[in-house]
């Protein structure tokens, strides 16, 4: 066991972890943050996506010890005061159905919009190509992001 500390949703947290524990399990089971979901345990599905220093990573492929002294953001961390404009657009456009993949996709797109406030459809597709959604057929997700980023240009 090793005690590590990192910023989790703007709060400094400390936790004891085994060297082989992955970040996903530590977030969910030891730190009570449940929005990152487990879908495959091998980086295929993206449901466990979190932001590590602003970059979207699969928390099932990141060892918890690697997060030491870094910043981790989950969907809980961007929903405290009010939802982001992206989250509002997801609700408006029915960009989710069962909701299981939604936290991961929102974070992946959050990263995209930081770098590309006006993304092309191709950039949107590539940004979530590693996040599987079995319900929506993705089209409502594209629509929400395109509408949102078009609006910002006004």
């Amino acid at each position: 066991m090793k005690e590590i500390s990192f910023m989790l949703n703007s709060e400094l947290r400390s936790v004891s972890v085994e060297p082989n524990e992955v970040l996903l399990d530590v977030l969910r089971d030891k730190l009570g943050v449940k929005s990152p979901k487990c879908g495959c345990e091998r980086g295929d599905c993206g449901a466990c996506t979190v932001l590590l220093d602003g970059k979207a990573v699969r928390s099932c492929l990141v060892l918890a010890v690697e997060a030491e002294n870094h910043s981790i953001i989950t969907v809980e961390g961007i929903s405290v005061e009010k939802l982001s404009a992206l989250q509002e657009a997801f609700i408006q456009f029915n960009s989710f159905q069962c909701g299981y993949c939604a936290p991961g996709i929102i974070l992946a797109v959050t990263e995209l919009l930081q770098a590309h406030p006006k993304p092309t459809l191709e950039q949107i597709k590539e940004s979530i190509a590693g996040n599987l959604c079995r319900c929506t057929g993705y089209t409502p997700i594209f629509d929400a992001i395109m509408a949102l980023t078009k609006e910002e240009g006004k």
Partner: protein, 777 residues
């Protein structure tokens, strides 16, 4: 047409905030504290074998292991329509991946390490991995004691064979029909197995407390059905079994009925005071839940030279797996409906449910109709082309209409099939034959009709409770599952319309069988129709209570009172406005200071009392097994790379007759989602087994499901509305149907583009490229 306030509007989903903020709780998100145990399964490595011995001694030595259970601890059978399964394998295993034992430990890691140390000694038996082999004389029997299995009266197993159920439908004079035909086409089509691939794997937690009460938290489409099967299998009273179903991360039929959930439920009964959790890995999800059944379909169709179908002989052989307690009903449903949405006077259908040594088949979005339509709609296109009749004209001429008889003799319900055909033809610009500008690609178009009825017992019912709160907000207490389709929102819309309370003021929670009233299951695309009717009745009950109270207190004529904007109003007195929040809990104060009325609590129930499965076993004539059909049409344009065989969908249009689209954007969501799920089954998904019955691709690396990169360039969703007379505001279900036409329309488009007819799914780039090479030679 009546103008509605909330019905037919794109009302915002009431579960949006929860799901988008990370607040939504799914099965694996619930905390159970320090007394939670974790279970891991020991699974069969053999497709068919006698279990000679199970040695748990090494496994018990692993630190953190608490107990290990095997089949002898749970000699109980269970099953939805046919009791042919045990909770753990008893003397025999019948597929690779079947559960033999469970290790229960303090941590998931300890349970996993110990499970790997359990030694099972097998005596292998011949395995039957193909349904046609399983049908052959002398084939090894999976269930020699089939005759003793309890089943619903509308199943017809053949003891002494591997046939678990044989649905026969006979109508008219088949030989006469073929004699009338000017052209007969006969061919065989095959469809492999598929996996649902909900992103949330199955998870269930069982807790048997010291008072002897069993609670199961389960990722499920079917909490009440699960409670019933747990109670039956484990010998508990229904009041002592409670199933709590939190949000579900995708179902698609895979979380219908009971699969792995019975394992933690059963384990809990031997672990009093503990909670025990079983969470499937992605690999287990692929191997040991329901799978979509494989199909070999033999179709013989006779047509007159004018293009009328004179006879259809449709034989469908289903690879139903080792246990068919749910899957046999897929076979049954299609056996009644394998004429497709056509009027055909002379019909023979044989739908045969066959045991094989592969994982159990079960419900999968479409419930067998996708598999059936791949063959039938391929065949229809070929027949029309052979006759030189436009395939759309051919479909239009043979389309079933309201009042026509189905294959089993019941009348077809009102439907907008012709309107769907016309709208899709126009949307896809069918007459226009585009030519590729790229010399390496060719362009083709494909078309398909579809239909599907809910497959359910004739007494499948729904019920609803509705209670008002002080601020005139409402708790609508129902037991269907919002598996993503938007059920909670649409039910809120129905109550909102009747009670004039906006859907945003109506809370619908996921169910708890202790507190929520009975619902059969969220399957069969029947929930909008069935639960919607129950909710509507509950809302009407509440309205009647409210209006009769106001009538009694204010002495206003009942027929002049109505609800609008969360208030009771009176047609004859515009000044009379009584806000609901003033009295729906506290009652109405009268002049003498006394109060009349009290909390408004309402209820509603719906059962399709006209439905019956009393058809003749030899012909299926008589009875009314299907409540109604939902129909539609779809078409697409594809571009095919002649070197690689890769198929790109340029444009697709799908029209569906929703009866009444209660929330049109949610209907469009089912179309975009269902179409992509269907296209994936034909373009690349495929479960591959080795010669010993082991699944070779149990993960998302090797079993590809669509990503954002795989979406058709343009999707045109079209809603047609020919009301369902007994549906809530005219609605009928549409959820499963949107994936049904995908496979045949791709096959038809490939032939259109390349002149090559592919009769087996999936139609991968590799298969197309190889067919092109073979054609060149």
């Amino acid at each position: 047409m009546k103008e509605y306030t909330y019905i037919g509007k794109d009302v915002t989903r009431i579960d949006g905030l929860e799901k988008i903020s990370g607040a939504a709780i799914y099965g694996d998100d619930i905390d159970f504290g320090a007394n939670l145990l974790h279970a891991e399964l020991v699974s069969s490595t053999e497709a068919h074998a006698i279990i000679k011995s199970i040695d748990i001694s090494e496994a018990l030595k692993v630190k953190g292991v608490y107990k290990i259970f095997t089949g002898k601890d749970f000699p109980y059978k269970f099953g939805l329509y046919m009791k042919d399964r045990f909770i753990f394998a008893q003397d025999k295993v019948r597929f690779v991946g079947e559960q033999i034992a469970a290790v229960v430990a303090r941590t998931p890691g300890a349970a996993k390490r110990a499970a790997a140390l359990v030694k099972v000694e097998y005596e292998p038996l011949p395995a039957v991995l193909d349904q046609m082999d399983a049908l052959a004389d002398g084939a090894t029997l999976l269930h020699p004691d089939l005759e003793n299995y309890p089943h619903v009266p509308w199943f017809f197993p053949k003891p002494g064979t591997n046939v678990a159920h044989w649905r026969k439908t006979r109508k008219g004079d088949l030989e006469g029909g073929f004699a009338q035909a000017d052209y007969i086409l006969e061919d065989t089509y095959t469809v492999p197995r598929y996996a649902h691939c909900a992103i949330e794997t199955h998870v269930a937690v069982g807790k048997f407390d010291y008072s002897g009460r069993l609670t199961v938290w389960s990722s499920s489409q079917s909490p009440h059905t699960q409670r019933h099967l747990f109670a039956e299998a484990l010998g508990l009273g229904h009041k002592d079994v409670r199933v709590i179903a939190p949000h579900v991360g995708g179902g698609f039929g895979g979380k219908a009925g009971v699969t792995m959930e019975i394992i933690p439920a059963a384990l809990a009964t031997k672990l009093k005071g503990y909670a025990v959790k079983l969470r499937y890995s992605r690999e287990q999800e692929f191997i040991n839940t329901y799978q979509r059944l494989g199909v070999v379909a033999k179709i013989k169709m006779g047509v007159s030279k004018e293009g009328k179908i004179t006879a259809l002989d449709h034989k469908i052989y289903w690879d139903a797996g080792a246990y068919v307690e749910y899957g046999a009903n897929v076979v049954n449903a299609v056996g009644l409906s394998a004429i497709g949405p056509y009027k055909i006077d002379n019909v023979s259908i044989d739908s045969v449910c066959i045991y094989t040594n592969l994982p159990p088949g079960g419900a999968y979005r479409g419930f067998g109709y996708s598999e059936m339509l791949f063959g039938l709609e391929s065949h229809v296109t070929r027949v029309a082309n052979e006759l030189g009749i436009d395939q759309i004209e051919f479909r239009r001429n043979n389309a079933i209409r309201v009042g026509d008889t189905t294959a089993y003799g019941a009348k077809m319900n009102p439907n907008g099939l012709l309107e769907c055909i016309d709208k899709v033809t126009k949307a896809i610009d069918w007459e226009h034959r585009p030519v590729s500008q790229n010399p390496n690609t060719v362009i083709g178009k494909g078309f398909s009709l579809f239909w599907k009825a809910p497959a359910m017992p004739p007494n499948a019912s729904s019920s609803a409770f509705l209670k008002f709160n002080e601020d005139s907000s409402i708790n609508l207490i129902i037991s269907g599952m919002d598996i993503g389709q938007g059920y909670q929102t649409v039910m809120a819309q129905i109550a909102a319309e009747i009670l004039s309370v906006p859907p945003s003021k109506i809370r619908v929670e996921t169910p708890d069988t202790d507190r929520n009233p009975y619902e059969w299951q969220t399957v069969a695309s029947h929930i909008t129709w069935s639960s919607g009717n129950a909710v509507k009745k509950a809302a009407i009950d509440a309205r009647e209570q409210i209006l009769s109270l106001v009538h009694r207190v204010y002495n206003l004529p009942l027929e002049e009172l109505y609800l609008q904007d969360e208030a009771v109003k009176c047609t004859q007195d515009p000044r009379f406005v009584l806000p609901l929040k003033d009295f729906v809990v506290d009652g109405i104060m009268t002049k003498d200071g006394t109060f009349k009325g009290g909390p408004i609590n309402a209820r509603g129930m719906f059962m399709p009392e006209f439905s019956s499965t009393n058809g003749d076993p030899e012909t299926s004539q008589g009875g009314h097994p299907n409540v109604h059909y939902t129909v539609g049409a779809a078409a697409l344009t594809v571009e095919i790379d002649k070197d690689t065989g890769k198929i790109k969908v340029l444009k697709t249009a799908l029209a569906i007759d929703a009866g009444k689209a209660l929330n049109p954007d949610l209907v469009r969501g089912q179309i975009t989602g269902g179409l992509l799920q269907g296209l994936a089954t034909v373009l690349y998904e495929d479960m591959r087994y080795d010669a010993k019955g082991k699944l070779l691709n149990p993960n998302f690396t090797d079993y590809k499901i669509p990503t954002a990169m795989d979406v058709p360039e343009e999707i045109i969703p079209i809603i047609v509305e020919v009301p369902q007379p007994d549906g809530p505001f005219g609605a009928r279900g549409i959820g499963e149907h949107t994936m049904l036409p995908a496979a045949p329309m791709i096959a038809n488009a490939v032939e259109d583009a390349l002149g090559i007819r592919i009769k087996s799914m999936p139609i991968t780039a590799e298969k197309v490229a190889m067919a092109l090479l073979a054609k060149k030679k």
